[in-house]
């Protein structure tokens, strides 16, 4: 793979962020989704009796917060390629010297940046509210969940990366934005499954498990990115037919 031009990736990111800011539906979705995901964990923690000793009571709300970086970027990622195709902006873009990896990285980074910013803001807000307003027993119970807090920090970019890559894979192949966005939500199923396994006690969250999951997810994200790069076929995107070179 020839060297990627970071400046060109930055140009794509800047333009995407500028475009998001001017699209009301994107701004609303980005603001509302994390707010909704903040309600359940907050209620769970504040309604828990002070005598609660079970770790599970504190782990589940924290796990719930991990769904934000999975669900939030999937719609944007699913729109990224097919959306440009539908509005007729993809073909002019593909006539420029941008490489497919630069385009995909730029698009992915433009979704990743607001996702991380909002996810970490929500986590910080949640922890601050717990520390400031929850009963001391509950607060110390939440902050005692080291592996879960580590998972929040480590998994947020990795889960977001997963959701983005899956969303973009769908977007590269889909013929309609709506279909792409519906299929893009499938990205949340595997992480949701993992959350369920933790909740039902099949997986016990420890530091080792958290780090092992993080490494596995990172490898998966990198591999998935390469697959999406291979799927990005200019000819298919412009004509709907796969390129066959002589």
């Amino acid at each position: 793979m020839k060297a990627l031009d970071v400046a060109r990736i930055r140009v794509v990111v800047r333009k995407e962020l500028r475009d998001y800011r001017r699209k009301r539906s994107v701004v609303v979705t980005m603001g509302v989704l994390p707010a909704i995901f903040l309600i359940q964990p907050t209620l769970t923690v504040f309604l828990a009796p002070a005598s609660t000793t079970s770790d599970r009571v504190f782990q589940v709300p924290l796990l719930f917060l991990l769904l934000i970086p999975v669900i939030m970027p999937s719609t944007l990622a699913a729109y990224s390629v097919v959306g440009e195709r539908e509005q007729g902006t993809l073909e002019p873009l593909l006539t420029t010297p941008i490489r497919r990896q630069e385009f995909i990285l730029g698009k992915a980074a433009a979704v990743m940046i607001p996702t991380l910013a909002l996810s970490y803001t929500v986590f910080g807000l949640f922890l601050a509210v717990v520390r400031l307003f929850a009963k001391p027993e509950i607060s110390s119970g939440v902050f005692r969940q080291g592996p879960m807090l580590l998972a929040l920090v480590l998994f947020t970019p990795l889960l977001a990366g997963w959701a983005i890559v899956v969303g973009m894979a769908v977007s590269v192949r889909a013929s309609e934005v709506r279909v792409a966005q519906q299929l893009g939500t499938l990205a949340s199923f595997p992480p949701l499954g993992a959350v369920v396994l933790v909740v039902v006690g099949t997986i016990h969250p420890t530091f080792t498990v958290a780090v092992a999951f993080a490494v596995g997810l990172f490898a998966l994200d990198v591999r998935a990115f390469h697959i999406v790069s291979q799927m990005f076929d200019r000819e298919r995107l412009v004509t709907g037919a796969k390129a066959v070179r002589s």
Binding site: K23, T89, L93, P97, E235, T239, V244, R245
Partner: protein, 329 residues
């Protein structure tokens, strides 16, 4: 057919002796369907080359192929001095610019923001002056801060043209640049292309508008899946149509066959309407006085005698109609 013709002015090469476009037996198939087949032509630097053909003739697919968006099935091409191949895609795209039929602008961004984006993708340092110059070239300097969503179709087309100018390309591909524009907006685009030609920009122009091609292009190619012809519009007219005189009389001639048969310079004749005759002649300048004398001698009331003018449209229709006839079962 695989026509390979460089008619008209000698092809201009650049300092390295390269042509802007060299296309040899290029073919593109999508499964069983052939988009274009066995297409060969040359385009010189500084030339405005018209690419004409009916809908579905393969014009846009040819542009996309030369622009590295789609891969040819067979054949070779050199674009702006670089051989067309997957490993050269990026380098070719650096040297060319393409304006698709629809300008494809980001409607929530301003004109300047759209151009900044593309300037960045072309890796231009200090794009400000380039953007200003491009906007001035298309007379949009005063609309730089407008959102593209608020512009008319004609203005958006002009922004698209400004975008193609940004990178100072060796070859510009303009795919139906006046499609859907009103006559005034189309004329503005014509003036722009004319201005670019004067600056020596190489332009590959696909169009349906034959008068546009006739007015703007140094040479034209007519494509109908295969290349039907390439040449200067005036040469094509001469190749395709015999020279003729058009004679108009106030009243229909009594016996035109006898009258024209007596004039040695007239090789044949046909009547287009009562009182209007088209005479096939080898040299209109020599034939016209003879014909005039013959008509006056026969007592005809002559309204006019002139050389028949064939337009590029006549050439186009002749070739495309020929194809339609051939394809009839």
């Amino acid at each position: 057919m695989g026509a390979e013709v460089i008619a008209g002015r000698p092809a201009q090469e650049n300092a390295k002796g390269e042509l802007a476009l060299v296309v040899d037996q290029l073919t593109k198939r999508f499964g069983e369907r052939t988009a274009f087949s066995d297409v060969s032509f040359r385009v010189a630097y500084g030339e405005v080359f018209g690419f004409l053909g009916p809908n579905g003739a393969g014009k846009t697919t040819t542009v996309r192929t030369l622009g590295t968006l789609i891969a040819p099935t067979s054949g070779t091409a050199t674009v702006a001095g670089i051989p067309l191949s997957p490993e050269n895609d990026v380098e070719i795209r650096r040297r060319i610019s393409i304006m698709p039929e629809s300008p494809g602008l980001y409607l929530r961004l301003t004109v300047t923001e759209n151009l900044e984006y593309f300037a960045g993708l072309y890796g231009l340092d200090q794009p400000g002056p380039r953007i200003r110059d491009a906007l001035e070239a298309v007379n949009l300097g005063d609309r730089a801060g407008d959102l593209c969503g608020g512009l008319s179709k004609g203005l958006r087309q002009r922004v698209g043209l400004a975008r193609t100018l940004l990178s100072d390309p060796a070859v510009m591909f303009l795919d139906e640049p006046t499609s859907g524009l009103d006559p005034v907006a189309a004329r503005e685009v014509h003036n722009l292309i004319d201005g670019l030609r004067e600056k020596g920009v190489t332009i590959f122009l696909t169009t349906h508008r034959l008068e546009e091609a006739q007015k703007l292009c140094d040479r034209v190619a007519i494509l109908n899946t295969t290349l039907r012809t390439v040449g200067r519009p005036e040469d094509l007219r001469e190749q395709l149509f015999k020279t003729a005189l058009v004679v108009k009389t106030i009243a229909p001639l009594g016996d035109p066959d006898r009258l024209f048969g007596r004039i040695p310079a007239v090789e044949g004749w046909r009547s287009e309407s009562p009182g209007s005759y088209v005479l096939t002649v080898s040299d209109p300048t020599l034939a016209a006085p003879e014909v005039t004398r013959g008509l006056v001698g026969a007592g005809a009331d002559v309204l006019s005698i002139g050389e028949a003018q064939h337009s590029l449209e006549d050439v186009y229709l002749e070739l495309v109609d020929e194809d339609v006839e051939v394809r009839k079962p």
